[in-house]
């Protein structure tokens, strides 16, 4: 299992086996703090408590001092070392002490209990499987599968959810019987009984309204907390840089980080060489880097490079992921890895500080009498069939038609993909289609958050699903596949708790992220103001160009089609339309490509 995790920790490997041989912990390490003495698994003084740990604990220096003050013997400097001692003092409540991103396993040999815990936002993965009374766990699905002997089956409902959403949501996984410890949860396994108990120790607080503080006052508080968070995340014994997109989130981070770095800050950006020039954030990043005074580097990604990068990347991910932004993120991670081992990113800012315009738009749109007929049904049928109308026009048209919010939200974030399923799905997915859990789950969650405002509910849903299951998977895997650690200062407990205690209407005022924009105007008064533009990779061009051939061979030979999950004839028809320029089918084709490449790799077939 450890070998499968080599990219996560190229520097070292260690194992612990209990005296009777029935409990084993293994770990691989990417050395970032205490390069010499961070070996794992790590015991306490009398070797009764053993810890395997993946991630970073940013407040470990302060915790270490307190532990020493209480008489614990600590020899090294690594963050892992504090955990067995912290466990002695707090038991499983140690999760309330540590601040950071982590997946941890602690074996208490005296009580014969194993504690598994995952960080608050789900930055680090942690998968597990029950086998009778036994429990197997690992930081990545690939490693876990290695330890299972026989490969589990694909879960059709999870594959259906992946096709609709572009990621596998929630506590399950793409494989039957394999589960994840959800963000902010801990799991305790009792060896004698084999019992497994799960407990939530944190979740983002629900949004509230009506506070009297001024936006300036709130921006100052956000700045105080963000600065604290960044200072903690700058601690590393290796070189460190910032991913700079030129937008508000990453510029605020880079500006604060530059103030707290003793050496000039390194910043990195990736752009795309697209025919119309619309997919490039390099110019904005250079401007911001000049204002910040960072040592800035950027690269451009061509369609040809994308074509060579995509098959290996999408097939290597432990779960399928159709977020095309993983491609440039992996590219910039590899680029930055030549100079740094740790990079700081702006993940989480949009979800916590109200960065998506749809939060406001969807809140204003009419909601009633659209569910089962009338104009709503008409539009739902028309939207996916329209061939050359611009998405912007269709969205504006869609807003005018009354529809329930969960449905509209789902179609907005997925480009209405769920309406394509009936024609596209092969026999093995028809059961999942009939069940249609994706929308039902969303409606249930939306119903639970009914007491909040619409933008508040949408922000919360994004914090609970989109953030851990897409955004953070993307950041972690893209970084780790390049052996680069991505740190995310917006995902700090206090900052997140603060952000959710501010009324969504305050966040969304003036086009969204009001507090971060105010903060930026304080940090860099001369920074140019820009409209929010999402720089997504030009996958439509890639699919018409070099990736079209890959897609074609996928449809001809790939497991996704040969095993009866997806109908090859329909996929082929859509690809044809796309390549001939009759319609932009990339929202459907990209998940098929990502899912197909992943499945081939899982089956041990040469991708494509």
């Amino acid at each position: 299992m450890c070998k499968a995790l080599h990219h996560r920790g190229p520097d070292e490997e260690g194992t612990y086996l209990s005296p009777n041989g029935d409990v084993a912990l293994g770990a691989r390490r990417l050395s970032i703090i205490d390069l010499e003495d961070g070996h794992q698994p790590r015991p306490n003084e009398d070797r009764t408590v053993w810890v395997a740990f993946n991630g970073e604990i940013y407040n470990h220096p302060a915790i270490r001092e307190r532990l020493k003050g209480r008489g614990h013997v600590l020899q090294g400097l690594s963050d892992t070392e504090i955990l067995p001692h912290l466990y002695e003092d707090y038991g499983e409540d140690l999760v309330h002490v540590v601040e950071g991103m982590f997946a941890l396993a602690i074996w208490d040999s005296q009580r014969e209990r194993l504690l598994l815990a995952r960080d608050r936002f789900g930055e680090k993965p942690l998968f597990y499987v029950r086998r009778g009374k036994d429990l197997l766990f690992a930081s990545e699905l690939t490693a876990l599968v290695d330890g299972l002997g026989a490969k589990p089956d694909i879960d059709p409902a999870a594959l259906d959810a992946f096709f609709v959403l572009g990621y596998v949501p929630g506590a399950g996984s793409i494989l039957e019987g394999v589960r994840q410890v959800p963000p902010g949860h801990l799991l305790v396994w009792d060896r004698a009984s084999g019992a497994l108990t799960e407990r939530r120790y944190w979740s983002p607080p629900a949004p509230v309204t009506e506070l009297k503080e001024s936006p300036r006052e709130l921006a100052a508080e956000a700045g105080r907390l963000l600065e604290r968070s960044i200072r903690g995340r700058l601690i590393a014994d290796v070189p460190l840089g910032v991913f700079l997109s030129g937008g508000v989130d990453s510029t605020v981070i880079a500006a604060i980080a530059a103030r707290h770095s003793s050496k000039p800050l390194k910043t990195f950006t990736v752009g795309y060489e697209a025919s119309d020039g619309t997919h490039d954030e390099r110019t904005a990043s250079r401007e911001m880097a000049a204002l910040i005074g960072s040592e800035h580097r950027d690269i451009a990604m061509s369609s040809e490079e994308a074509a060579t990068r995509v098959p290996a990347l999408l097939s290597t991910l432990d779960q399928p992921l159709a977020d095309s932004a993983v491609v440039p993120l992996h590219s910039v991670a590899e680029f930055a890895r030549d100079e740094v081992t740790v990079a700081i990113g702006g993940e989480g800012a949009d979800e916590l500080f109200g960065g998506y315009p749809r939060y406001s738009w969807l809140g204003r749109a009419p909601q009633s009498f659209g569910q089962n007929g009338g104009v709503g049904a008409l539009v739902r049928n028309l939207v996916p069939r329209a061939k050359s109308t611009s998405p912007r026009f269709l969205r504006a048209f869609d807003l005018a038609v009354p529809r329930p919010i969960p449905e509209r939200h789902l179609d907005w974030v997925t480009a209405g993909r769920r309406h394509e399923r009936a024609g596209l799905y092969g026999p093995r997915l028809l059961g999942a289609l009939a069940e249609d859990r994706v929308l039902a789950d969303l409606e249930r969650d939306f119903e639970e958050s009914r007491s909040y405002s619409v933008p508040g509910s949408l922000m919360r849903l994004d914090q609970l699903y989109w953030l851990p299951d897409d955004v953070l998977v993307k950041a972690d895997r893209a970084g780790m596949l390049a052996s680069l650690e991505v740190r995310t200062p917006y995902l700090q407990r206090e900052l997140a708790e603060f952000a959710t205690s501010v009324a969504p209407s305050t966040h969304l005022a003036g086009g969204g992220k009001q507090l971060l924009r105010l903060l930026l105007s304080d940090l860099l008064p001369n920074a140019p103001r820009r409209r929010k533009v999402a720089f997504l990779p030009p996958i439509d061009e890639w699919l018409r160009g070099p990736l079209g051939a890959l897609m074609e061979s996928q449809i001809a030979r790939g497991s996704l089609y040969s095993e009866g999950w997806v109908r090859a004839d329909v996929a082929s028809h859509l690809l044809g339309e796309h390549r001939r320029g009759e319609a932009d089918r990339s929202p459907v084709l990209w998940p098929l490509l990502a899912g197909g490449l992943w499945l081939d790799r899982f089956r041990g077939v040469e991708p494509g």
Partner: protein, 370 residues
């Protein structure tokens, strides 16, 4: 008797710290004949009749507070012409324009009180108030620094900590459960309710049965309740009592094992805890305190003697201090006793005497122009 015109927008029966401070000062100041100019407030007539104080109230205008304050400044000048005071005590910077006019026109010296928060809200007015007074009173070293930064002359700023009411009557029995108490309006984030929630999950992990009793209400209450819920802290650990009567508040100060309010320094140049009289009130009830080691609280709490000063931004520091005091009975009692002795030094007659002495000195040193 020294005729003293006291100008204040805040006076009982309206609740609040400044209201309380001005009332106790004028009630206990020896040698001063005070006339108080303030705003009308519900229940005022009864209050003034019972208190035998010379209070002149301007009817509350159906207008925003700045307009009321302006009208009150006008009323102050009119009262000065009628009362012919030897000295003016301005209890709030919003009264400084009127006080300054009286000083210039009638040659009456002015003593200006500074509390803290108002300096951050209107720094330019604070500077004006300090420059146009013969003496300033700052309630803490922190407030003194703020006045100096606003343009006040350090030589003229006198440090007089606020006073405290000593409990009378029989103290209530301590609570059976280990109890941490916080008393504060839930309005300003800097009071640290959020850090307390985080700290309580650590306290609950190490001290079974521990509870946190929260007295006070305000717009932040819903957010703090959500925060508790998100951290998995149940209603068995946190009890929000809202606003309570003085008697109930006093009873909880007797029952609690530790009083905790980790006020921090707000970001963006806003002002934090001016002094924190509530720490001394807790001490007066033999309750040791946990406070943030910043702002005026460093004057209100003697670290290691009457309580513990901690890093108010770090919930682990706060949690450890609470655990230490809850676990260590001897230390808790020693600090409670030391706190009670210290509170006596700050008891109102003494503090009012200090104010009266300063006011008298200032009046005496400036000969009347008449």
């Amino acid at each position: 008797m020294m005729r003293t015109l006291v100008l204040t927008p805040d006076f009982p029966p309206a609740p609040g710290g400044i209201q309380h401070l001005v009332h106790r000062t004028v009630s206990h100041a020896p040698g001063l004949e005070c006339r108080i100019v303030t705003l009308d407030t519900p229940g005022a007539e009864e209050f003034d009749r019972a208190g035998a104080l010379d209070v002149r109230r301007l009817p509350q205008l159906p207008a925003p507070r700045p307009v009321s304050a302006l009208a009150l400044n006008g009323a102050a000048v009119a009262q000065a012409l009628a009362f012919r005071p030897r000295v003016v005590l301005s209890a709030h910077t919003v009264m400084s324009p009127g006080a300054s006019l009286i000083r210039r026109a009638l040659g009456v010296p002015v003593v200006q009180y500074f509390h803290g928060k108002e300096i951050g809200v209107r720094p330019r007015l604070a500077g004006f108030a300090a420059r146009n007074a013969d003496a300033c009173i700052a309630v803490s070293r922190y407030t003194k620094d703020l006045v100096a930064q606003a343009g006040g002359d350090r030589e003229k700023i006198h440090l007089i900590h606020p006073g405290v009411d000593l409990p009378n009557g029989v103290a209530a029995e301590p609570a059976e459960r280990p109890t941490v108490l916080t008393i504060a309006r839930m309005e300003d984030r800097y009071k640290g309710h959020d850090v307390m929630v985080r700290a309580m999950s650590l306290v609950a992990a190490r001290i079974p049965g521990a509870q946190w009793v929260v007295i006070g209400d305000g717009p932040l209450r819903a957010a703090i309740a959500e925060l508790a819920c998100s951290s998995g802290i149940g209603e068995d650990v946190i009890r929000f009592l809202g606003a309570v009567s003085d008697a109930e508040r006093d009873a909880w100060l007797d029952r609690a094992h530790v009083f905790s309010m980790p006020s921090r320094m707000p970001a963006g140049g806003y002002v934090g805890e001016g002094f924190g009289i509530v720490y001394l009130e807790a001490n007066a009830h033999r309750c040791p305190v946990v406070a943030g080691g910043v702002g005026g609280a460093v004057d209100a709490v003697l670290d290691g003697e009457t309580g513990l000063l901690v890093d108010p931004e770090d919930h682990i520091s706060v949690g450890n201090a609470l655990v230490e005091l809850l676990q260590n009975t001897a230390q808790r009692h020693a600090m409670g006793e030391a706190g009670a002795r210290r509170a006596e030094e700050f008891a109102w007659p003494r503090t009012a005497e200090r104010v009266a002495r300063l006011v008298t000195e200032i009046a005496a040193s400036s000969a009347p122009r008449r």
